[in-house]
């Protein structure tokens, strides 16, 4: 449950401008695209790399860090590192 996965924001949508979860990023997680709330990373924008956990970006990473984190998670957890499951959010 600690698991967080790095990915790159490819698009930002201001779905609900006044809502805490208002900014939604479309994040490319190593090939699969998910939607993640940017509520915890208000400074994040298109092109930035973020660490995503349970549908929320929890921190911004630089690209080198993101790739290294992904490589190490894959090495550490292998097939246990499944892509996110469950219905996609808005």
């Amino acid at each position: 449950m600690c698991l967080a996965v790095p990915g790159q924001i490819v698009e930002v949508n201001d779905v609900e401008p006044d809502s805490v979860v208002g900014r939604i990023g479309v994040v490319d997680l190593q090939g699969s695209r998910i939607q993640a709330s940017l509520a915890m990373t208000p400074q994040a924008d298109t092109g930035d790399w973020v660490l995503v956990h349970a549908g929320f970006a929890i921190t911004v990473l630089d690209e080198a860090e993101a790739q290294a984190t992904w490589d190490s998670l894959r090495e550490a957890l292998g097939e246990d590192l499944a892509p996110p499951e469950g219905p996609g959010g808005p």
């Binding site: 921190t59 860090e65 292998g78």
Partner: protein, 364 residues
């Protein structure tokens, strides 16, 4: 990391142990437990390093009473329970969420609390309850979703709050004095939120080195080396060995979101009793989103199945191998306790990576 690099770090660990003696390190986080096994580190480290698994698996520390309450909700005709996948197979007193679903109960596995809120909006005729379980990595997401639910006027969404806090658990274990821990391997992603600096009171008050580590083998080995060196030098400092991802301050925005919605409260940890200020409850202004009040469900007492040692295992007081049920009555296919169910559970990790091969049984 290749074998030579690993050997190099392990040689340095052994050298430090020559000075420090036997060192007991608690890996707080369930994902570390799995990574340490999977990488083979556990088997490479010498006898001088004793790694103990801690209570860092949120599903494993969830009380039986919480599971039973979730199961009760799942079979109510107008309720849908949304949960992270790991919770679904944990056995309660009358079955698991999975077995309730087989009986016609409404249980949906979600990746995010946002998905549960979406489901509530799509099904206004049902009460959607999100099982809010997890440590500090996960609580900001729940908090933000509750804020969104209030802002959007969603009246059929609520949470069953089961969030837990890592540092009160570490303090309780140390204050109990029963587990001989010399230092802590601190969770990587919880620390993204709380910051490496959050462990300073543990280091200072209890004189235990705390090193934040990521999940890859080299990083974990180096973190272990840092701990052993500190023990050898008589130091008790916080070190951040996951600096690429974790800062000293953590994510203040995320913590503010949690503070808006939740307040620390006493919480029941499986087999550990009530730990003060170790959980979260909804603040007054968000109490309407508490499933307990809204739906009149009760979280009953924590009851451990006969013979199950999960409670001792999560506190580092016993290993899975010491449980009479391990690998016989309790297996991943037919689990008795949560430690065997969760992907981060110590028993599940031992079963997969540390079970002696038996004739006729394929080794995992």
């Amino acid at each position: 990391m290749d074998r030579d690099e690993a050997k190099g770090i392990i040689d340095r660990i052994d050298a430090a142990c020559a000075q420090a003696g036997r060192v007991c390190i608690m890996e707080v986080c369930g994902t570390h437990t799995v990574s340490l096994f999977r990488s083979g580190i556990k088997s490479l480290l010498g006898e001088s390093i004793h790694l103990i698994s801690g209570p860092g698996c949120p599903v494993c520390v969830t009380s039986q009473g919480y599971i039973d309450a979730a199961c009760e909700l799942a079979v109510r005709p107008d309720v849908t329970v949304c949960t992270y996948g790991d919770m679904v197979r944990v056995p309660g007193q009358v079955g698991s969420l999975e077995s309730q679903r087989a009986r016609g109960g409404s249980v949906e596995v979600v990746y995010s609390p946002r998905d549960a809120l979406t489901m509530a909006k799509q099904h206004p005729d049902r009460q959607v309850v999100f099982l809010a379980v997890g440590f500090e990595t996960t609580t900001p997401g729940t908090a933000a979703t509750v804020i969104a639910a209030r802002g959007e006027g969603v009246e059929n969404f609520s949470i069953l709050s089961g969030h837990k806090l890592v540092i009160p658990a570490m303090e309780a274990l140390l204050a109990g004095g029963e587990v001989p821990v010399d230092g802590f391997l601190c969770p990587g992603h919880v620390s993204v939120i709380i910051g490496a600096g959050a462990y300073r009171p543990i280091a200072e008050r209890y004189h235990k080195p705390c090193v934040v580590a990521g999940f890859e083998p080299r990083g974990m080995l180096e973190a272990i080396l840092h701990i052993v060196r500190q023990v050898a030098d008589g130091k008790a400092l916080v070190e951040n060995a996951y600096g690429a991802v974790v800062s000293s301050e953590g994510n203040a925005v995320a913590r503010d979101v949690v503070d808006r919605v939740f307040v620390p409260a006493d919480a029941v940890w499986r087999a550990m009793g009530t730990l003060p200020d170790s959980g979260l409850e909804l603040r007054e202004g968000f109490r309407a989103f508490d499933a307990v009040g809204r739906l009149g469900v009760e979280i009953g007492p924590d009851v451990c199945p006969d013979g199950c040692l999960c409670g001792e295992v999560i506190q580092g007081k016993a290993t899975p191998a010491e449980c009479a049920l391990f690998g016989t009555a309790c297996t991943p296919v037919e689990p008795v306790g949560p430690c065997m169910v969760s992907s981060e559970g110590t028993c599940a990790a031992w079963y997969k990576y540390n079970r002696p091969a038996q004739p006729g049984v394929e080794k995992a």
